[in-house]
């Protein structure tokens, strides 16, 4: 039987290879999962259970779930939330524009033979 707190690795999809913990059991086929993955509903066929269990409650947030995974001694990949680097403003060349008065002077009538 699968219970809340079971540790598994996701096998299929975009989150494949990521560790997760069962947070809620929906029915015989689906569970709610959180951890390295996003918090999401997941088919049991898409999980490979490790046989470990973490101390997790149903109401825990994703940060607490990650902490519980770390306590088991598993390597957890975390996405660092840092400040965005400010982009350097590239020096842009301005288009050379002539003053109106000059432009008028430069206009010459076409050469007539």
């Amino acid at each position: 039987m699968i219970t809340v707190g079971d540790v598994a690795m996701k096998i299929a999809g975009r989150d494949a290879g990521m560790l997760c913990v069962v947070v809620d059991v929906i029915d015989g086929n689906f569970v709610m999962v959180d951890g390295e993955t996003r918090r999401r509903k997941c088919n049991l066929k898409h999980l490979e259970f490790l046989g470990k269990s973490a101390k997790v409650k149903k109401s825990d947030g994703s940060e607490e779930v990650l902490k519980a995974l770390k306590d088991l001694g598993l390597k957890v990949h975390e996405v660092k939330k840092g400040k965005r680097k400010e982009r350097k403003v590239k020096p842009s060349r301005l288009r050379k524009t002539k003053a109106k008065s000059e432009a008028v002077v430069e206009k010459k009538p076409a050469n007539k033979k």
Binding site: A8, M9, A12, A16, E48, L50, G51, K52
Partner: protein
């Protein structure tokens, strides 16, 4: 003798008939092969087929599946590798 760049196996030799009736070898690029799973050889789905210049026209998510090993392994082989990885973690 043909020009050097046409002497490689990269180019395909095509015999074309000219209007004068003379048959002349022309050279064209070979067709790009189908993308296959590197482990089992099954043709992959959802991968853009063509040269790099052609594939560049699509967005990154359209070029190949977004899962790990997307465009390299088929789903079955990818799942196998993931299961192995999971079992190594415990052992």
């Amino acid at each position: 003798m043909v020009t050097l760049r046409y002497r490689s196996k990269r180019m395909r030799k095509v015999h074309t008939k000219l209007p004068g009736g003379k048959v002349v070898p022309h050279y064209s690029l070979r067709n790009v092969g189908k993308p296959q799973c590197r482990m089992c050889g099954v043709p992959l789905q959802g991968v853009v087929r063509g040269r790099v210049s052609q594939a560049g026209k699509f967005t990154k998510s359209e070029r190949k599946p977004e899962r790990p090993y997307g465009g390299v392994l088929c789903t079955k082989c990818m799942r196998k590798t993931m299961i192995e990885r999971a079992r190594k973690l415990v052992a």
